[in-house]
Protein backbone atom coordinates (compact mmCIF):
# COMPACT_ATOMS: atom_id res chain seq x y z
CA UNK A 1 0.00 0.00 0.00
CA UNK A 2 1.31 3.45 -0.88
CA UNK A 3 0.41 6.89 -2.26
CA UNK A 4 -3.11 8.23 -1.73
CA UNK A 5 -4.45 4.86 -0.59
CA UNK A 6 -1.84 4.67 2.17
CA UNK A 7 -2.56 8.21 3.33
CA UNK A 8 -6.31 7.49 3.42
CA UNK A 9 -5.70 4.35 5.49
CA UNK A 10 -3.43 6.24 7.93
CA UNK A 11 -6.18 8.81 8.50
CA UNK A 12 -8.69 6.02 9.16
CA UNK A 13 -6.31 4.43 11.68
CA UNK A 14 -5.78 7.77 13.46
CA UNK A 15 -9.52 8.42 13.75
CA UNK A 16 -10.38 4.84 14.70
CA UNK A 17 -7.58 4.09 17.16
CA UNK A 18 -7.67 7.48 18.87
CA UNK A 19 -11.48 7.52 18.91
CA UNK A 20 -11.66 10.99 17.31
CA UNK A 21 -15.05 12.40 16.51
CA UNK A 22 -14.13 13.64 13.03
CA UNK A 23 -14.15 12.16 9.54
CA UNK A 24 -10.79 10.86 8.27
CA UNK A 25 -11.13 13.11 5.24
CA UNK A 26 -11.03 16.17 7.51
CA UNK A 27 -7.34 15.51 8.22
CA UNK A 28 -5.05 17.16 5.68
CA UNK A 29 -2.03 15.24 4.40
CA UNK A 30 0.40 17.90 5.60
CA UNK A 31 -1.58 19.31 8.53
CA UNK A 32 0.17 19.03 11.92
CA UNK A 33 -1.21 16.17 14.02
CA UNK A 34 0.03 17.50 17.37
CA UNK A 35 0.53 20.98 18.80
CA UNK A 36 -1.72 24.01 18.88
CA UNK A 37 -2.80 23.78 15.23
CA UNK A 38 -3.20 20.00 15.35
CA UNK A 39 -6.00 17.65 16.32
CA UNK A 40 -5.85 18.44 20.03
CA UNK A 41 -3.96 15.27 20.84
CA UNK A 42 -1.63 14.69 23.78
CA UNK A 43 1.32 12.45 24.66
CA UNK A 44 -0.98 9.54 25.55
CA UNK A 45 -2.46 9.72 22.04
CA UNK A 46 1.07 9.76 20.63
CA UNK A 47 1.90 6.52 22.43
CA UNK A 48 -1.36 4.98 21.25
CA UNK A 49 -0.56 6.08 17.70
CA UNK A 50 2.93 4.56 17.85
CA UNK A 51 1.42 1.21 18.88
CA UNK A 52 -1.31 1.50 16.21
CA UNK A 53 1.18 2.24 13.41
CA UNK A 54 3.17 -0.86 14.32
CA UNK A 55 0.00 -2.94 14.50
CA UNK A 56 -1.45 -1.78 11.16
CA UNK A 57 1.64 -0.97 9.09
CA UNK A 58 4.53 -2.76 10.83
CA UNK A 59 6.20 0.60 11.42
CA UNK A 60 8.52 0.40 14.43
CA UNK A 61 9.34 3.73 16.06
CA UNK A 62 12.21 3.24 18.48
CA UNK A 63 12.21 6.33 20.66
CA UNK A 64 10.42 9.57 21.41
CA UNK A 65 12.86 11.71 19.42
CA UNK A 66 12.17 9.68 16.28
CA UNK A 67 8.45 9.70 17.08
CA UNK A 68 8.37 13.49 17.19
CA UNK A 69 9.56 13.77 13.59
CA UNK A 70 7.59 10.85 12.19
CA UNK A 71 4.28 11.80 13.81
CA UNK A 72 4.36 15.37 12.53
CA UNK A 73 1.73 14.78 9.84
CA UNK A 74 0.05 12.05 7.78
CA UNK A 75 2.60 12.84 5.07
CA UNK A 76 5.60 12.22 7.35
CA UNK A 77 4.07 8.99 8.64
CA UNK A 78 3.36 7.80 5.08
CA UNK A 79 6.91 8.66 3.97
CA UNK A 80 8.36 6.62 6.82
CA UNK A 81 6.15 3.63 6.02
CA UNK A 82 7.06 3.86 2.31
CA UNK A 83 10.75 4.16 3.20
CA UNK A 84 10.57 1.05 5.39
CA UNK A 85 8.68 -1.00 2.78
Amino acid sequence: MQGAELRKKIKEVIVDELMLEIEPSEIGDKAPIFGGDGLGLDSVDALQLVVALEKHFGLKIGNSTAAKGILESVETIASEIEKAA
Binding site: L18, M19, V44, D45, L47, Q48, V51, E54, K55
Partner: protein, 241 residues
Amino acid sequence: MRSILITGGNGGLGLGIARFFLTRDPDCKVWLGVRKNRDAAEQCASEFDGRCALIDLEVTSPEAWSAAIEKITTESGRLDVLVNNAGMHSDHLLAMMPAESWHGVISSNLDSVFHGCKAVTTTMMRQRFGRIINIASLSAIMPPLGQTNYAAAKAGVVALTRTLAKETARSGITVNVVLPGYVETEALGDMDEDARKQAKAGIPMRRFGKPEEVAAAVHFLASAEASYITGASLKIDGGIF
Protein backbone atom coordinates in the same frame (compact mmCIF):
# COMPACT_ATOMS: atom_id res chain seq x y z
CA MET B 1 -9.32 -18.24 26.08
CA ARG B 2 -8.43 -15.48 28.59
CA SER B 3 -4.80 -15.42 29.58
CA ILE B 4 -3.94 -14.37 33.14
CA LEU B 5 -0.53 -13.85 34.75
CA ILE B 6 -0.25 -13.83 38.54
CA THR B 7 3.10 -13.06 40.15
CA GLY B 8 3.98 -14.47 43.52
CA GLY B 9 2.35 -17.64 42.25
CA ASN B 10 3.64 -19.92 44.97
CA GLY B 11 2.24 -17.87 47.86
CA GLY B 12 -1.08 -18.23 49.61
CA LEU B 13 -2.66 -15.12 48.16
CA GLY B 14 -1.38 -15.71 44.62
CA LEU B 15 -2.67 -19.28 44.69
CA GLY B 16 -5.96 -18.17 46.18
CA ILE B 17 -6.45 -15.74 43.30
CA ALA B 18 -5.39 -18.38 40.77
CA ARG B 19 -7.81 -20.99 42.09
CA PHE B 20 -10.64 -18.43 42.10
CA PHE B 21 -10.12 -17.71 38.38
CA LEU B 22 -9.62 -21.37 37.49
CA THR B 23 -12.74 -22.61 39.25
CA ARG B 24 -15.03 -19.83 38.00
CA ASP B 25 -13.77 -19.28 34.46
CA PRO B 26 -13.56 -22.51 32.49
CA ASP B 27 -12.26 -20.51 29.55
CA CYS B 28 -9.11 -19.10 31.10
CA LYS B 29 -5.48 -20.05 31.41
CA VAL B 30 -3.52 -18.94 34.47
CA TRP B 31 0.24 -18.46 34.40
CA LEU B 32 1.83 -18.55 37.84
CA GLY B 33 5.00 -16.47 38.04
CA VAL B 34 7.45 -18.29 40.33
CA ARG B 35 11.10 -18.29 41.39
CA LYS B 36 12.81 -20.98 43.46
CA ASN B 37 9.86 -22.02 45.64
CA ARG B 38 7.29 -23.68 43.44
CA ASP B 39 5.89 -26.75 45.24
CA ALA B 40 2.45 -25.27 45.90
CA ALA B 41 2.25 -23.77 42.40
CA GLU B 42 3.12 -27.14 40.86
CA GLN B 43 0.35 -28.74 42.91
CA CYS B 44 -2.14 -26.16 41.58
CA ALA B 45 -0.95 -26.70 38.00
CA SER B 46 -1.45 -30.45 38.33
CA GLU B 47 -5.00 -29.96 39.65
CA PHE B 48 -5.96 -27.81 36.67
CA ASP B 49 -4.05 -29.71 34.05
CA GLY B 50 -3.58 -27.68 30.86
CA ARG B 51 -5.19 -24.51 32.24
CA CYS B 52 -2.54 -23.58 34.77
CA ALA B 53 1.18 -23.38 34.10
CA LEU B 54 4.28 -22.15 35.88
CA ILE B 55 6.52 -19.51 34.39
CA ASP B 56 9.94 -18.45 35.68
CA LEU B 57 9.73 -14.82 36.65
CA GLU B 58 12.18 -12.84 38.76
CA VAL B 59 9.96 -9.79 39.10
CA THR B 60 12.79 -7.33 39.73
CA SER B 61 14.39 -8.16 36.37
CA PRO B 62 13.13 -6.35 33.22
CA GLU B 63 14.75 -9.06 31.09
CA ALA B 64 12.86 -11.78 32.96
CA TRP B 65 9.62 -9.88 32.39
CA SER B 66 10.31 -9.56 28.64
CA ALA B 67 11.03 -13.28 28.36
CA ALA B 68 7.91 -14.22 30.33
CA ILE B 69 5.57 -11.99 28.32
CA GLU B 70 7.11 -13.23 25.07
CA LYS B 71 6.48 -16.83 26.13
CA ILE B 72 2.91 -16.18 27.23
CA THR B 73 1.91 -14.23 24.12
CA THR B 74 3.56 -16.83 21.89
CA GLU B 75 1.76 -19.74 23.56
CA SER B 76 -1.55 -18.08 24.46
CA GLY B 77 -1.70 -15.46 21.71
CA ARG B 78 -2.56 -12.70 24.18
CA LEU B 79 -2.35 -11.51 27.77
CA ASP B 80 -5.58 -10.20 29.24
CA VAL B 81 -4.88 -9.86 32.94
CA LEU B 82 -1.80 -9.10 35.02
CA VAL B 83 -2.01 -9.46 38.79
CA ASN B 84 1.09 -7.95 40.40
CA ASN B 85 1.01 -9.90 43.63
CA ALA B 86 4.67 -10.73 44.36
CA GLY B 87 6.24 -8.98 47.30
CA MET B 88 7.94 -9.36 50.63
CA HIS B 89 8.47 -7.47 53.84
CA SER B 90 11.46 -7.01 56.12
CA ASP B 91 10.36 -5.08 59.17
CA HIS B 92 12.67 -2.92 61.27
CA LEU B 93 12.31 0.38 63.03
CA LEU B 94 13.79 2.93 60.64
CA ALA B 95 16.63 3.84 63.00
CA MET B 96 17.75 0.21 62.94
CA MET B 97 16.87 -0.62 59.34
CA PRO B 98 19.76 -1.87 57.22
CA ALA B 99 19.92 -0.11 53.84
CA GLU B 100 19.64 -3.48 52.09
CA SER B 101 16.31 -4.06 53.85
CA TRP B 102 15.03 -0.75 52.50
CA HIS B 103 16.26 -1.36 48.96
CA GLY B 104 15.18 -5.01 48.90
CA VAL B 105 11.62 -4.21 49.92
CA ILE B 106 11.32 -1.26 47.54
CA SER B 107 12.71 -3.39 44.74
CA SER B 108 10.51 -6.45 45.27
CA ASN B 109 7.30 -4.52 45.98
CA LEU B 110 7.54 -1.38 43.84
CA ASP B 111 10.21 -1.79 41.15
CA SER B 112 8.61 -5.13 40.30
CA VAL B 113 5.25 -3.48 39.61
CA PHE B 114 6.92 -0.87 37.40
CA HIS B 115 8.72 -3.56 35.38
CA GLY B 116 5.57 -5.68 35.12
CA CYS B 117 3.30 -2.85 34.01
CA LYS B 118 5.88 -1.65 31.49
CA ALA B 119 6.31 -5.15 30.09
CA VAL B 120 2.58 -5.68 29.40
CA THR B 121 1.37 -2.22 28.42
CA THR B 122 2.26 -2.36 24.72
CA THR B 123 0.77 -5.84 24.34
CA MET B 124 -2.45 -4.75 26.01
CA MET B 125 -2.58 -1.54 23.95
CA ARG B 126 -2.32 -3.61 20.77
CA GLN B 127 -5.19 -5.76 22.00
CA ARG B 128 -7.08 -2.65 23.07
CA PHE B 129 -7.92 -4.63 26.17
CA GLY B 130 -6.15 -5.28 29.42
CA ARG B 131 -6.71 -5.53 33.13
CA ILE B 132 -3.91 -4.76 35.58
CA ILE B 133 -4.61 -5.38 39.25
CA ASN B 134 -1.89 -4.45 41.68
CA ILE B 135 -1.85 -5.95 45.14
CA ALA B 136 -0.77 -3.29 47.63
CA SER B 137 -1.55 -3.43 51.33
CA LEU B 138 -3.46 -1.60 54.01
CA SER B 139 0.04 -0.59 55.16
CA ALA B 140 0.08 1.87 52.27
CA ILE B 141 -2.41 4.08 54.10
CA MET B 142 -2.34 2.78 57.71
CA PRO B 143 1.24 1.68 58.26
CA PRO B 144 2.21 -0.13 61.45
CA LEU B 145 5.52 0.50 63.21
CA GLY B 146 8.49 -1.09 61.53
CA GLN B 147 7.22 -0.89 57.96
CA THR B 148 8.62 2.36 56.59
CA ASN B 149 10.07 0.41 53.67
CA TYR B 150 7.00 -1.75 52.98
CA ALA B 151 4.52 1.10 53.53
CA ALA B 152 6.48 3.42 51.24
CA ALA B 153 6.66 0.75 48.55
CA LYS B 154 2.95 -0.05 48.74
CA ALA B 155 1.99 3.64 48.80
CA GLY B 156 4.14 3.92 45.68
CA VAL B 157 2.13 1.11 44.10
CA VAL B 158 -1.08 3.03 44.80
CA ALA B 159 0.32 6.19 43.20
CA LEU B 160 1.72 4.25 40.23
CA THR B 161 -1.68 2.63 39.73
CA ARG B 162 -3.55 5.92 39.67
CA THR B 163 -1.09 7.50 37.24
CA LEU B 164 -0.93 4.54 34.89
CA ALA B 165 -4.72 4.33 34.91
CA LYS B 166 -4.81 7.80 33.35
CA GLU B 167 -2.15 6.95 30.80
CA THR B 168 -3.92 3.80 29.58
CA ALA B 169 -7.55 4.82 29.97
CA ARG B 170 -8.11 5.36 26.24
CA SER B 171 -6.55 2.03 25.34
CA GLY B 172 -9.10 -0.29 26.89
CA ILE B 173 -6.77 -1.01 29.78
CA THR B 174 -7.88 -0.57 33.37
CA VAL B 175 -5.43 -0.40 36.27
CA ASN B 176 -6.64 -0.83 39.82
CA VAL B 177 -5.14 -1.61 43.19
CA VAL B 178 -6.43 -3.62 46.12
CA LEU B 179 -5.24 -3.06 49.68
CA PRO B 180 -5.66 -6.19 51.76
CA GLY B 181 -5.48 -5.95 55.52
CA TYR B 182 -4.77 -9.08 57.56
CA VAL B 183 -5.27 -12.12 55.32
CA GLU B 184 -4.69 -15.72 56.41
CA THR B 185 -1.55 -16.55 54.44
CA GLU B 186 2.04 -17.44 55.22
CA ALA B 187 2.68 -13.67 55.55
CA LEU B 188 1.06 -13.86 59.01
CA GLY B 189 3.15 -16.88 59.95
CA ASP B 190 5.49 -14.96 62.21
CA MET B 191 2.66 -13.62 64.41
CA ASP B 192 2.28 -15.42 67.73
CA GLU B 193 -1.12 -16.08 69.29
CA ASP B 194 -1.06 -12.89 71.40
CA ALA B 195 -0.24 -10.76 68.36
CA ARG B 196 -3.06 -12.42 66.42
CA LYS B 197 -5.57 -11.74 69.23
CA GLN B 198 -4.43 -8.13 69.46
CA ALA B 199 -4.69 -7.66 65.69
CA LYS B 200 -8.19 -9.17 65.56
CA ALA B 201 -9.30 -6.86 68.35
CA GLY B 202 -8.59 -3.93 66.02
CA ILE B 203 -10.67 -5.32 63.16
CA PRO B 204 -14.40 -4.50 63.26
CA MET B 205 -15.22 -7.95 61.81
CA ARG B 206 -13.04 -9.54 64.53
CA ARG B 207 -11.40 -11.94 62.11
CA PHE B 208 -8.69 -12.12 59.48
CA GLY B 209 -9.65 -12.25 55.81
CA LYS B 210 -9.42 -15.32 53.60
CA PRO B 211 -7.41 -15.35 50.36
CA GLU B 212 -10.60 -16.03 48.39
CA GLU B 213 -12.14 -12.84 49.78
CA VAL B 214 -9.33 -10.85 48.17
CA ALA B 215 -9.49 -13.05 45.07
CA ALA B 216 -13.18 -12.25 44.55
CA ALA B 217 -12.39 -8.54 44.28
CA VAL B 218 -9.47 -9.16 41.93
CA HIS B 219 -11.67 -11.41 39.80
CA PHE B 220 -14.31 -8.70 39.50
CA LEU B 221 -11.78 -5.97 38.64
CA ALA B 222 -10.41 -8.29 35.94
CA SER B 223 -13.83 -8.84 34.39
CA ALA B 224 -15.25 -7.17 31.31
CA GLU B 225 -18.03 -5.81 33.54
CA ALA B 226 -15.53 -3.66 35.47
CA SER B 227 -14.76 -1.71 32.31
CA TYR B 228 -15.44 1.76 33.79
CA ILE B 229 -13.42 1.25 36.96
CA THR B 230 -9.83 2.40 36.69
CA GLY B 231 -7.40 4.03 39.10
CA ALA B 232 -9.45 2.74 42.01
CA SER B 233 -8.03 1.70 45.39
CA LEU B 234 -10.08 -0.98 47.15
CA LYS B 235 -9.49 -1.73 50.84
CA ILE B 236 -10.25 -5.33 51.80
CA ASP B 237 -9.74 -5.39 55.53
CA GLY B 238 -12.85 -6.23 57.54
CA GLY B 239 -13.70 -2.60 58.11
CA ILE B 240 -10.54 -1.04 59.54
CA PHE B 241 -10.52 2.77 59.39
